[in-house]
């Protein structure tokens, strides 16, 4: 009877170990991919998971998770997002020649236009132009989006459309630009804001949506 109990216990432990092994392998693989997507070497993610196999390592993994969440990712330092090329200098909206643009990695089927609304501002635009210049003082040029507000620069930012996606590039005005609360700096180049909800130009919070 005792032998049977011990066998059952060992069996249960063995099953638990098998599940734990599968869990560690899966978690390691997924963390490899997550680290990779953030621009870090994949082995850092795998290493963090393998640390949990040691006793004190679980605590280290938890600390590494916090570090990973709040550190600067290499991805954020990337100058541009696929599909949008940084335009040289400020001034008039620049439409990059198709030959100079790499093909968008993931073209979206949804080709509706875009709208920026809020604080008495309602801007609507589509992919008629490859680039729109957002400015506080318009000159009437095509592809210009005017927002009459003292906190908005002249010009302030550039909006880029490509393959159903929308990009945003800050042109370095004092008012600044924020995407969902995260500051966009000119050195970041164009950022994909297709999935963003709010964009702040100067002191104006605008909601991004599709008509």
């Amino acid at each position: 009877m005792m032998g049977f109990d011990i066998a059952a216990l060992l069996g249960a432990l063995g099953l638990g170990s098998a599940f734990a092994l599968v869990g560690v392998v899966l978690a390691g693989w997924m963390c490899w991919r997550i680290a990779d997507k953030a621009g870090l070497p994949g082995w850092t993610g795998l290493g963090a998971i393998l640390l949990t196999l040691t006793g004190i390592g679980s605590l280290v993994s938890l600390i590494l998770l916090w570090v990973f969440a709040f550190m600067r990712w290499p991805r954020d330092g990337a100058p541009a997002v696929v599909g949008f090329a940084p335009a040289p200098g400020g001034g008039a909206p620049v439409v990059s020649s198709p030959a100079s643009l790499p093909p968008p990695s993931r073209a979206l089927a949804d080709r509706r236009g875009w709208k920026l609304t809020g604080n008495g501002v309602a801007l609507a635009f589509d992919d008629t132009h490859a680039a729109y210049l957002l400015t506080g003082e318009g000159s009437g040029a095509p592809g210009e989006l005017m927002v009459a507000d003292p906190s908005v620069g002249r010009p302030h930012a550039r909006l880029l459309t490509a393959a159903g996606r929308l990009g945003l590039e800050d042109l370095g005005t004092p008012g600044g630009t924020l995407i969902d609360g995260a500051r966009l700096l000119p050195e970041h180049g164009p950022r994909d804001i297709t999935a963003a909800r709010t964009v702040r130009f100067g002191t104006l919070d605008l909601s991004l949506g599709r008509p």
Binding site: M30, K37, L40, W66, A69, F84, A85, P86, S97, D192
Partner: protein, 85 residues
């Protein structure tokens, strides 16, 4: 007899609540950084609440982050080309 049952029920409830509190506190240690990671990736921070689901929750969050397309871009994007040749 009834006193004993009441004691057992009370004790069991106490331990369950204590377990729940410890679980939520530990989950919070995971939820806070994961919330930020999800938002930086372009997903809703609410996704990190899956950590409240014991055992499987963390795997669900990791799977979404690992195999989904990050709406705010990924680090392996090809290098941009100059706008003008």
């Amino acid at each position: 007899m009834w006193t004993l049952i009441a004691w057992l029920v009370g004790l069991g409830t106490f331990f369950l609540m204590a377990l729940l509190v410890v679980h939520v506190l530990f989950a919070l240690l995971l939820i806070v950084p994961t919330w930020r990671i999800c938002e930086r990736a372009g997903y809703s921070g609410l996704l990190s609440l899956f950590h409240l689901l014991p055992v499987l929750g963390s795997f669900i969050v990791m799977a979404v982050l690992a195999f989904g397309d990050w709406p705010k871009g990924e680090g392996k994007a090809p290098a941009p080309q100059p706008a003008r040749p």
